[in-house]
């Protein structure tokens, strides 16, 4: 992600709507990708992103100048995604891949497309395992930090990571992506 121009940051400090929109557009793609990896569907991802941006824009004056503004914003987005996972992790009963494959009109090509999709692979995992995999592997958090974020123990985080890796490896070998 490219650096944010100082004029946009200054406008956001003054709560100018034009500058806020520019900031939103500037950070939209990378942060929505992040949200998509945690969310169940694109609509939920947009919802997470908007909640995170609401916090960012309303608390922009609380940001300390010596820190990295992008890192600060990313941390807020991750926390919003983790809140979503914690609120919804009990409600994932069917994986989208299984549902799509079981549909009467679903062809083999459709199923292959879904399986090749990275998001579809992640969404096939259990909610907590998927979140642990994202936080540990992609975001680079430690097991202690992951445990604190998700409200689980460090050992439980390790188990979820192992479980997620095992399932993903199995799926990727099936699709010969590796």
């Amino acid at each position: 992600m490219t650096a944010i121009p100082e004029s946009i940051l200054e406008g956001c400090r003054k709560k100018e709507r034009r500058a806020q929109e520019q900031l939103y557009r500037h950070c939209y793609a990378p942060f929505l990708r992040l949200c998509l990896r945690y969310a169940e569907c694109p609509a939920d991802a947009a919802d997470i992103l908007n909640k995170a941006f609401f916090n960012i824009l309303t608390k922009f004056d609380q940001f300390r100048e010596e820190g990295n503004v992008l890192g600060w914003m990313k941390r807020i987005v991750i926390h919003a995604a983790v809140d979503y996972v914690r609120a919804n992790r009990r409600f994932r009963y069917h994986s989208p891949m299984e549902v799509a494959a079981d549909l009467p009109g679903a062809s083999t090509a459709d199923a292959t497309l879904l399986e090749n999709d990275l998001l579809a692979l992640l969404r096939e995992l259990p909610f907590t395992s998927s979140a642990v995999f994202n936080l540990f592997v992609v975001e680079g958090y430690s097991h202690r930090e992951v445990g604190e974020l998700l409200g689980i123990s460090e050992a439980n985080s390790k188990w979820h990571l192992h479980h997620a890796r095992k399932l993903l490896q199995h799926k990727l070998q099936q699709t010969a992506a590796l």
Binding site: K15, R17, Q20, E21, Y24, R25, Y28, A29, P30, L32, R33, L36, R37, A46, L49, N50, F53, F54, L57, T58, L118, L119, L122, F133, V137, V138, R165, L168, Q169, L172, A177, L178
Partner: protein
């Protein structure tokens, strides 16, 4: 090489695959998302969170001082009215306003409680069948009063003999607790 090493190598390949492809997820900007966020920001700006309204502490120093002042004022008024003094006087004086008894009924000694049923000579003699000369002579000797007007001193014993309720039996007893029966 330990047996876990091939597995770890496979896992590192899984991790690398996801790290590389995480940035390639296709995303298109949707203006509706920004419109929703702008509306939420407008709503938040139009209705700022309520600031805490300062309320005086009811247990503050001023409240204690004014409370003590009011208490002292009330006590002074109460003393001036003589209510405190009257409260320690015998109840018979205070109760004369509400209960009126005939002179015949009040022919008992001074300590008799007017609220309780008083046995007059007439009723007592009717119930017991005693001779009026004998009773009145005993009472007159003790109380130094005319024999014709005084009531007998042992009205309690006499009323017990007559099967009438005595002063002790008319005392208000504490209400018994209802027993809950669970079938």
């Amino acid at each position: 090489m330990t047996p876990n090493q091939p597995e770890k190598k496979e896992y590192s390949r899984v991790d690398a695959y996801f790290r590389q492809n995480a940035e390639d997820i296709p995303v298109t900007f949707d203006p509706a998302n920004w419109n929703a966020l702008a509306a939420a920001l407008d709503a938040a700006a139009g209705n700022p969170t309520k600031t805490l309204v300062h309320r005086p502490n009811r247990l503050g120093k001023g409240w204690w001082v004014s409370g003590i002042f009011l208490l002292l004022l009330g006590a002074a008024w109460w003393t001036r009215q003589g209510a405190v003094i009257n409260a320690f006087q015998p109840a018979s004086q205070g109760n004369t306003k509400t209960i009126r008894l005939d002179s015949e009924q009040l022919a008992t000694p001074e300590r008799a409680q007017p609220a309780l049923p008083v046995l007059t000579n007439k009723i007592l003699l009717q119930k017991t069948g005693l001779k009026p000369e004998k009773v009145s002579a005993t009472s007159a000797e003790k109380y130094d009063l005319p024999a014709a007007t005084i009531a007998p001193i042992d009205t309690t014993i006499a009323s017990q003999n007559a099967g009438l309720p005595t002063n002790d039996s008319l005392k208000i007893l504490p209400a018994k607790k209802k027993k809950h029966i669970f079938w």
